[in-house]
Symmetry: C4
Subunit: 508 residues, 4 copies
């Protein structure tokens, strides 16, 4: 039987044909109506063989789709394993077992608040948490180890307080600024986040459209669900995009990616330097285990399942040997400004200046890599005074990301010297819950907050913001209270307010 793709029209495979190949030693799967022999690929699959074997002999499209860009099979599976079209009418529709979790989720979707009820970025997250698929939620929301850095990222902003000035004319507020030479309407950008189709079937292009509408920059992720070209194609007019880059061990591939991006008009190359290996995210790992783990019976120590969540599955190509000595090479292959994403201490900011980088992003990768990495905003407060002391503050543009949820967070970062802030998850959540209208409203809410709070701090344009407007005395303290005196707390009888009238039970 010849499965050459030229004659598929007359000679389609049937579901029965494929179903015969359903074992570890002979494994076919159907994706987007075409069959593939993945037997030899099984041990190499970055996500582990188990998840493929679940679909051996069956249609795997639904599972495959959100976590593989369209060109994946062409790139990674030899053409000889492409078996050609399948007559999908002959493929047995899987009688899906009633899934009470999914039914509850659908019921929650039916009761979803309308978009106008979301008044801030946390609201979108609250809706997304209840309406997204559990595995998708786990992938987006998880962080490293105990997720302490994940939470510290936002919490750190709470240690910075304002010193507003009064009686300034704040009738007209201008929130626009420039980043790497591009004019933007407000000092945030959509930072790179992976696997957009987990949240929305259209993927990252939804963010492209939202960024266009609000005139902010989008950073295109290496690990997008959409292909790079799809995302660039979705941009309109002079819309500015940047490229986020995980550096491949194979520098030829890296060079091709960079130069293609430059040709397609990208205005900045953000090299991720805080992820030589993608982090362990236990929430994600547990979620994946729940999904594929039901047929695991053994409890022996030797047969440990090495699959570790979506993050690890997609990142094996990243080069952990990337180092400072590679920077000149990057400068030799592109004219785009080079920005290091993931810098975490002042020494490395100075080094970035010395090697000729145009910017750094102070970031801990959204709390997804090293737990107890400090927040970007805290590192910023360490960096800027030292740069000023050395007279280097104008040699580089400093960005931060991580934990930004309110316009007050953005204002604090700008007061401390950042050129702009990256926002990632909140837009993913808005997109997952409400699609483009969600992203639109999320950005509009930030703009409304920004205008309001600029006015209340007494500044009518972002260049007026400076360190005199913030009180950061508590910022660098990483305190934990003395563990509680359980016995003492248990015997304390807390004060209660006035009781309601007798005769009826009530709590006031």
């Amino acid at each position: 039987m010849n499965h050459n793709s030229n004659d598929t029209q007359k000679n389609k495979l049937t579901g029965q044909d494929v179903a015969k190949h359903s074992s570890k030693d002979d494994c076919w799967v159907i994706i987007h109506g075409r069959a593939y022999d993945v037997t030899e690929f099984l041990p190499e699959h970055p996500g582990g063989p188990k998840i493929i074997l679940k679909y051996a002999g069956k249609d795997a499209t639904e599972e495959y789709e959100p976590i593989h860009p369209p060109d994946t099979l062409d790139k990674y599976l030899d053409k000889s394993k492409h078996l050609g079209e399948v007559d999908m009418g002959t493929v047995e529709k899987e009688e899906k077992a009633a899934d009470p979790d999914e039914e509850e989720r659908q019921a929650r979707i039916a009761r979803m608040p309308i978009l106008e009820q979301c008044y801030n970025l946390m609201d979108f997250e609250a809706v997304a948490k209840r309406t997204m698929k559990k595995t998708a939620w786990a992938y987006y929301s998880s962080g490293a180890d105990d997720e302490i850095t994940l939470r510290e990222n936002h919490s750190a902003f709470h240690k910075i307080w304002f010193r507003p000035r009064i009686l300034e004319d704040v009738e007209n507020i201008d929130t626009s600024t420039t980043m790497l030479g591009s004019k933007v309407s407000i000092p945030f950008y959509v930072t790179a986040t992976a696997l957009g189709k987990l949240g929305n079937p259209e993927g990252e292009v939804v963010l492209t459209r939202g960024a266009k509408k609000h005139n902010v920059v989008q950073m295109i992720p290496t690990l997008a669900s959409c292909s790079f070209d799809e995302i660039v194609d979705a941009a309109e007019g002079d819309q500015v995009q940047w490229l986020q880059l995980y550096v491949n061990k194979n520098r030829d591939i890296t060079k091709r990616i960079i130069q293609h991006a430059e040709k397609r008009g990208c205005k900045g190359l953000f090299i991720t330097v805080d992820a030589p290996q993608l982090g362990r995210r236990e929430k994600d790992m547990r979620s994946k285990f729940d999904d594929v783990g039901s047929n695991v019976q053994d409890t022996g120590g030797d047969n440990v399942d090495r699959s570790q969540g979506a993050a690890r599955a997609i990142s094996s190509f990243i080069d952990p040997a990337l180092s400072w000595k590679d920077i000149p090479w990057f400068k030799s292959v592109t004219k785009m400004p080079i920005i290091l994403k993931g810098v975490q201490r002042v020494e490395d900011v100075i080094r970035a200046i010395n090697v000729g980088c145009q910017g750094v992003v102070l970031s801990n990768h959204g709390g997804r890599q090293l737990d107890f990495a400090r927040s970007g905003i805290e590192v910023l407060a360490e960096v800027m005074p030292e740069l000023r002391r050395l007279g280097l503050q104008d040699q580089i543009e400093i960005f931060i990301d991580g934990g930004v949820r309110r316009a007050t967070d953005i204002i604090k970062a700008l007061c401390l010297g950042a050129k702009g802030v990256g926002i990632g998850r909140p837009f993913l959540y808005a997109m997952s819950a409400y699609g483009l209208p969600g992203v639109d409203r999320a950005m509009q809410l930030l703009k409304d907050e920004m205008e309001m709070n600029m006015r209340l701090i007494g500044c009518s344009s972002v260049d007026q913001l400076g360190p005199e407007f913030v009180d950061t005395r508590g910022l660098s303290m990483h305190t934990t209270g003395v563990p509680s005196d359980t016995l003492g707390l248990n015997v304390y009888d807390p004060l209660a307010g006035p009781k309601e009238k007798a005769g009826e039970r009530a709590k006031l």
Copy 2:
């Protein structure tokens, strides 16, 4: 048909007449027995058109009453739209649908604790929270963004501890002092708060009577439910009142208000400088949404409802361009002392002295404007040492407001150099729950606490209070603990006290 108001006696409108005009394009409403054509006014209504349309063709008095001073319609709706009296007997009584929330509220009112069970200012708030209408509660109790400043305002007092002295003769305690030259019996004043009728049908005059009884000053709010003259008329004898002023874009209106207040005997002009735009208060916005949002069906991003709670509805006239250069003009139109209300850093206190202000209120507007604005008491601790260093401490009277709930809070403020403190919400809650007797008891409780605590700190008059009586080392630290180690806390098995005897279930 001629609806000229002169012939309404013989020619009243009927309910049916009005009911015909119940659409967006032809909208009449009845208020206090008179009909008005508000069709053209709909798009201009500061509270948004939706809330009016809910009552199109119907009697809107109950909704209208608490948030519009008596002279509103005369001021803002052209006389030609005043359609004259309605024969209210012909107006169909709306069969109110049974409202379980309201029924529960009435049941809670029936079980309300008696006044004597309120032992402190928080107790009134606890009662008000359960007995007020939800929208009124939301308006009074809400704050900006995450309400962090709202809570910090009281919490900041908890970081100040006493250093009492002993063995002073404290038999006779004199809590009286002067503010702006007026003698008062205790160093607090009733600060300006908007929309008093939301809590009590009589509105702000209840506070006037309470202030009289306890010989404290009342600050009259621009956004009162009662008219300014009603509040002044409610004062007795030499009762002192001040005017709180939101400055109108139209300075003629502002001038008229100021000069009228001066003529009526106001003894101080408090210009609000922390509210060029009234804040976003999400609790208030959500509450309003619940009220009018039921007929909202669309979830598109473009048709966003711009109505944003009571606060935004009533404040569109405020001039965001007000600036330091306007101060001389104020001095030119009045002889009243001028006090800036809402100063938040020492630089601006010094500037206020330089432009000839007689006072400042260190305030963040009760946490209703800029979240992460510092508390008044914290700013006070920043201000006074610097004024003393510059020898300016006697050039100006410093007040604070925000978060004052106990006499200890008042004493702390006076120790740190304040002349007096403003108290707002607690009296609103006392009034909402119990009317004038509530306000009376709230003030009496503060006086009792004040006398007690002056005695315990070892001071018999307020002029003895000074910085040596307080320990403020922790005041300026804005700490947040390291986020919790959830897994670790979950596995910790807290200590428990002795178990009761076996055989019977109990928790000790």
Copy 3:
């Protein structure tokens, strides 16, 4: 009818006689089998008239007993109002209405843990909380205002950490020391607490016996339920007792008390200086309201009930004019060492030295007086370095009380320079729950802990303890965290441990 007490034998009153006098204008009560006419006394009753009127015409003994020392009626009610004996057989036994609260309490008493299950001082409190009468619990456990100082007192010890030394011979531990010249077996004393009979029908003499057994000093309270002489009579051998003194406005009474105490052998005069007026304790006030408030119907503001809990009821005699200039007089009327109890700052310790006091107790009255008064242990850390700097550390004995619950607390105080610590409530709770065996075990547990912890810190006698054994860097910080970001915390999805196997619901 002649009610002269001489002929009561033959001519006893009947219950019916008394029952006729049951109104506000004619009020008799029976106490310990004798009738009294308290009509004229009603308005003067420190606890308010209501509580007496509840028993008008009836037997009030049960209510009267625990809060009035035996000699009260003789002292305060004119002999003419002593109506003589009542034939108690004729007094109608009040059919007590079934009281579900009391029934539940009796059930809890039946299930009470056995004494051996109490392993520390908090355990006694846990048992007492569930088994004491609610009003008694409220009186013992309550503190001033928000009870923040009440809790800070123990919490402050948690900010002090040890720097133990190793490899010292700690086979034999000697915990004995001296206080004001008296040898004691361990450096704590039983400090004065009022109204012991609320917790145990025998009252303070139980503590006397416990103190004897463990060779520690008892301080006799002015406001004891037992009379002073009963408590002194309960002492055995050379048992040491001190006198706690509230100074009466009438100095003759005060002088008589002091000289009587000296004659009876008291070895120290502790003058309370932190209570010119006894504190407002809202828990106590609410508890009393619940007890007598049921017949209160009016909610008007003018008829406010002024009764304010047990504390206020018993303290009206205290002189708020007591001052430094009275100290020489005390020295003139007694040879006992004079100790000021309730000193709260270093300036006043120095002043106490200068006026010739032999000691001070750094104390805030167990958190019952001024809220936000600092803990004794914190004041100690302020006092001692300054005394050492001035070379005054040997001029005076410093004691502290408040919040001591563990031997580690005692050791910390001694390391910081205290001669000993006072412990009050814990022994009251032990007595209330288990009587003398409870007090005995509580003291023994402290001794066991003390020996253990001295050993572990590497000191074999109390004179070895010093500041080098403690780390107090966190002691003086009064921090409150930034108020929580409710929305953010709500959307965070906490990490969970491994799930149990599917098919069965469980939480791990």
Copy 4:
């Protein structure tokens, strides 16, 4: 009847024979099929007589086994009391009463997560907590007093944050190091913990095998359930073991132990110096009470049960007089390096150097001894700067233990100057829940975390770690928040996210 062990073959005792001796005055028990007369031993039993009397006349093996090493009876009970073999077929099988707690535990074991679901060390603890016997859990998990130090030990690591460097070649990570001259694959060792058979019937040898597999050192505990030789015999090849030593009052015994260990190849002598007396652990005491306390009826104070949990039961031989002057003697009896385990301040580290110790373990005994002892990691931060200042940092190897749960904890310790860290409880929990596979996986997880986090901090070998990689500004603060304002918190109405659609109840 002659119970000489020589003729037991023909002349076994019967169950009935033994059952006759079941009183306090005549008490036999069966252990491992042999009878013993323990009547005279009862008062000497370190665990108290009660627990033995529970088994008087019966088979006590199950209770005896885990807490007594195999050679206990030979060592402590005179041969004349060894009564010989029992025909176990004649021993009445105790009809075990249905124990609902045990049934629930067995059900939990049946639902136990599979090993692969444990992703970190806390996960093993979570499983062990639910599947271990309650008394065993209480012994392992308990700490001193309020267990504040117990929890602080891990919490202290949370105050240390990273300053990672970027763009270092981290392709190959080498986590190996040396401790006391031995090469190990990762810088942790299995520290000594008592009574391994409480968690696993095989006891400490399971840890030996795990340590071998991962090439880490095991420290052999004095109080092991296995005998010392069993543990050494379980080692393979050149596996390194150390000896943990509680010093016996009888130095001959101590000398014999040390010299035997040296002969068997131990490579280090860790003398415990923080436990002159084993700590009070109330959780353990309560647990033991629950177990034996059911027949306790009296509540008198004099008949106090002195049994105080497993810890106290097994430690009465420890010499509390051990002191610095004993160190030369230790050096005279062994060539093994001498390390002091339980040092808690810098002064004693310097003294250890001066007396010629090769190492110290900064430790508070896992929080089981002195509450408010500081964590090892905090003491380390005090020690190293002082050693460096004195030029002593290379004179001694510094280890820490306590609270290590994550590889980040290990890295923090090494950055601050530790040579390695001891881990105890986590391996006990892994062993208790899953046996050797659990220990294996726990160690593998730490190795995976270690490699990952070394990579993320930018270091490829442990010698690169140093203080510049950590931010410890918050480490030494022992803060407790100001006690909460209960009334205020109760009336605050927390913000809530968007509500779901009306008509259906749900919480978002």
